[in-house]
């Protein structure tokens, strides 16, 4: 992080060694995380994390199990607010409006309505397949049946699930397999078209074909959305992300363009992790 080249222009940041404005490493910053720390009650889980999230790019978070990737991701939509005793320090600034997501003065509804999330384990609602995907739209007051139909189909197609469920949209979501449920949750998160999509190991329960579909989807979505993805799969991080952050014991050890982080890491700890020497 310290060694990162960073040239600022308004809230445009150019990340990477080749500060070529045309490259995919030149991006505006969608979110700036500044000195973020987090405590589960008395236990500190994040230590002074500072990193940018590039707009319309995929940022991958890697690191050994228990290093705080999920904890970090869940700060973005204030999921930790649901449990008593949790505490944030520092700032997560959401652009373009400059709202500080973790400020106690910010209504957690604001980030939640603008940021979608797919969890580590599939968690469909006890509703039909259709209603699961439509849920986020209904909550936003959309009642127009045609619009709902259209958005549900579009989201299910994007999540590579449409062909498998188009004939049984009224069936319970629990009739689906685990992998299908996870894709349903992806469709559910996509339907309201959030500005940012948080993905916590979205493909850990999927077979290689569905995984490939989802990776394709992420690549497509990059045109319109900002994506942050947690993954244990190093190849996946390398394949789909433009930026990568490596976490260890609640600290961000290194952040940079994916290519650079995987080929020429600055920190020996990063080197050890990506070459499989620990973790």
């Amino acid at each position: 992080m310290t060694a990162m080249d960073k040239a600022r222009d308004g809230y445009t940041v150019t990340l990477g060694r080749a500060a070529d404005p045309g490259s995919e490493f030149a991006a505006r910053v969608k979110v700036e995380v500044e000195g973020l720390s987090f405590w589960y009650g008395g236990k500190q889980a994040l230590f002074d994390v500072t990193m940018p999230i590039a707009e319309r790019r995929v940022t991958a978070l890697i690191g050994p199990s228990g290093c705080g990737k999920s904890t970090f991701l869940r700060c973005f939509n204030r999921m930790h607010d649901l449990y008593p005793g949790n505490r944030y320090a520092g700032r997560i600034v959401l652009h373009p409006d400059g709202i500080d997501i973790v400020s106690p003065k910010t209504d957690p509804m604001i980030p939640r309505l603008r940021i979608g999330m797919v969890f580590q384990k599939p968690n469909p609602f006890p509703k039909s397949i259709y209603e699961n995907v439509a849920a986020g739209l209904r909550i936003r007051g959309i009642r127009d049946r045609a619009l709902l139909d259209e958005q549900v189909e579009k989201s299910l197609r994007r999540a590579a699930l449409w062909d498998e469920v188009k004939d049984r949209l009224d069936a319970s979501a629990y009739d689906l397999s685990g992998g299908q449920q996870q894709r349903l949750c992806i469709a559910r998160a996509l339907a309201p078209e959030p500005e940012i999509l948080l993905l916590d190991e979205p493909t850990s329960a999927l077979d290689p074909i569905a995984t490939a579909h989802i990776e394709e989807l992420i690549d497509e979505l990059r045109a319109e959305y900002t994506i942050v993805i947690v993954t244990h799969n190093m190849q996946q991080a390398a394949r789909i992300s433009q930026f990568t952050g490596f976490f260890h014991l609640g600290r961000l050890v290194e952040f940079g363009p994916t290519q650079q982080l995987f080929t020429r890491p600055r920190e020996t700890m990063t080197q050890d992790y990506i070459t499989g020497r620990f973790g």
Binding site: L82, P126, R140
Partner: protein, 314 residues
Amino acid sequence: MAVEVAEEIRATGTLAPTAAFLARRRWVDRTMRGLLAVAASLSIFVTLGIVWVLVSESLVFFRHVSLVEFLTDTEWTPLFANPRFGILPLLAGTVTVSAIALLVAIPCGTVLAIYLSEFASYRAREVIKPVLELLAGVPTVVFGYFALLVVTPTLRIFLPDISGFNMLSPGLVMGVMILPYVVSLSEDAMRAVPNSLREGAYALGYTRLQTGLRVVVPAAFSGITAAYLLGMARAVGETMVVAIAAGQNPKFTFNPLEGAATITAYIVQVSLGDVPHGSIGYQSIFAAGLVLFVFTLFFNLVGFILRRRFREVY
């Protein structure tokens, strides 16, 4: 078991299970299965025994009274010189009082359960739950006299027409009485809904109330139905409160301002009185009990079907 396995391994020098070890496991498994089957059949036999007594004793009653009269006559006066045997007055009393009780307990109970499981702070929960449990521990006689001596006079301020013995007052009190069961069981069902579902809802932008009503309640549906059914079973089966506050005068009416008797109130009245064994008056309580049994069985069936329809899988 662990010790045995260790011995086996030491004896044979291999982790592969020996025939003797497998045989022992099979034996334990079979014995346990047998014991469980005995325990399960026992409860079935007890239930069947109750049904058998109810039916056989009722048959004695129906030798004297036709089923048609029993189901259609609107007078219930088995102990009079000129007895009439229509179950409708008792059924009407039971239905009216239970309906009032459920109208109190189900909405209040559901709201309270949602509040406790989704909104209340840890501290609020720690205060409210023991208070509710205390309510559940009050003897029903106390509730009965509370209905008769406090609630009825209070109701009279607003409803001057209300009789001293009426169904409204015990209905309301009974609603409060079964409230703790409805709350506690529905809350258990809601709290059993995994947090991952709530998180999914909040992440989509659901408010607390929306999460409670649109995600948690549907997910806990079968448990909540069970809570309602138990509340209903208690309301229908409750005796003391009605016997004390509704009078014991069977009357075919659904008007909550009038007094009436319920099936259970009648049964206890006859059982405590000096009606001779084997007389038609005595036999009539079995017929009344049978009706009560069929009544609750019916609602349990409805609940069973509902639960099947909305089964919960997280």
